[in-house]
Amino acid sequence: MKKRPTVGEILQAKGVSRRGFLKYCATTASILALPPSMIPRIAAAIENTRRPSVIWLSFQECTGCTESLTRSASPTVEGLIFDAISLDYHHTLQAAAGDQAEAARHAAMEENEGGYLVLVDGSIPLGNPGFSTIAGISNVEMLKETVAGAAAVVAIGSCAAFGGIPGADPNPTGAVSVTDLVTDKPVINVPGCPPIPMVMTAVLTHFLTFGTIPDLDRHGRPMTFFGKTIHDRCYRRPFYEQGKFAETFDDEGAKAGWCLYKLGCKGPITYNACATTKWNSGTSFPIEAGHPCLGCSEPRFWDKGGFYEPLSTGQFDSGAKLAGAAAAGVALGAIAATAGRRRQAKIAKEG
């Protein structure tokens, strides 16, 4: 395998002081959502880890995940590309095209056999391999060929992780996810439509820093960023607890920033880091902007009922299920409403 410099060596060559290196490690700990007590371990790891080769494959996708990645401020994508990784193949970002580009992919695979990372965005069509091809090669063939010598695969975005919008009903292309096809390599799912920029770069940073994949949940998502629901970390949670809900998008409750549960918020069942990591370098996230969470990091979110239907109406992908649940819901809803009113009265009395 081609020997690459460590990140520590790269920073040293750039004249970065030890103090600057400590700052780099501190912000890395923050990116990885690790406690500051991990900084010494991160420093030791970064000093010794070599820049991995990264091959990015784009299949049935809208390029939103790449757009999101290129907005990452920490680390910046330029910082990642030039300092931390060797991005050897990426349709949107690379200058090469045609045979030259494919040659670059093969060279990276041969030189880094067993040690490179494959990042995939977009779903893979199985209905007809001709639905999505690159340089005349079907997505499924390119995926199989490229992951053969990979150390790990990262499925970027909900399309690669779960099938996404191409996989939504009626799934005309027979779209499947990466994990439907790759079963003999570690796969990290980083879902979201798109994923938060910093979450994408943090996963790469984790692999770069520790040479391992992070702890994953039952859907293969890093626990660090997908271990808690939006609801768990939402700043509007106090309003939910107090029973203060916006009823329409322009009512006084909406203007006062009340909970968006009744407007369809999927925060309670959506695992992602939006509520704390936020978007646009920590500026805001959909709920803060006044729009309910769509649940875009959950499997098959496109087919789980209306975005503006509250969770209490259930999440259904068939009319029969909806009808059956409606009957049960009437009974359960009455019980829940009574309990809810009692609780609200208790809070009002105690508050």
Binding site: V16, S17, R19, K23, Y235, P238, G243, E252, T276, S284
Partner: protein
Amino acid sequence: MTTQQDAQAPAFPFHGNVRPILNEVLHAVDRLLDTNEATVIDLAGLPFGPGELEHLEATLGTGELSARLDALGTSRIRETAYPGVWWLEHRNAHDEIVGRYLEITRTPEILSSQDADILAGRARLEDQFE
């Protein structure tokens, strides 16, 4: 039951996420005094409603000492109006914020000169004599 009539323009900020942090700082100050143990609170992992982070910063205020670090972008380190409670803000080379911390300590580690840098500086100083 709370109704729309109860909604009104909020006293700003009003989400209640600042008070628990101040309480955590208070406990960290006690730990510093009792055992000399430092605490670092990463503000990136905490939920803030609109204006709450600014409210936290304004509440902690500014003390006697401020420092600027120019390494991989600018960082600002200042003691707040509460001695031992430091506000650290790291920016990258594009002036984008990449980290915000509260450190409850006598002196943040990053303010100390590092051995590797001292050794490198000594070598450069020695070159002055050649």
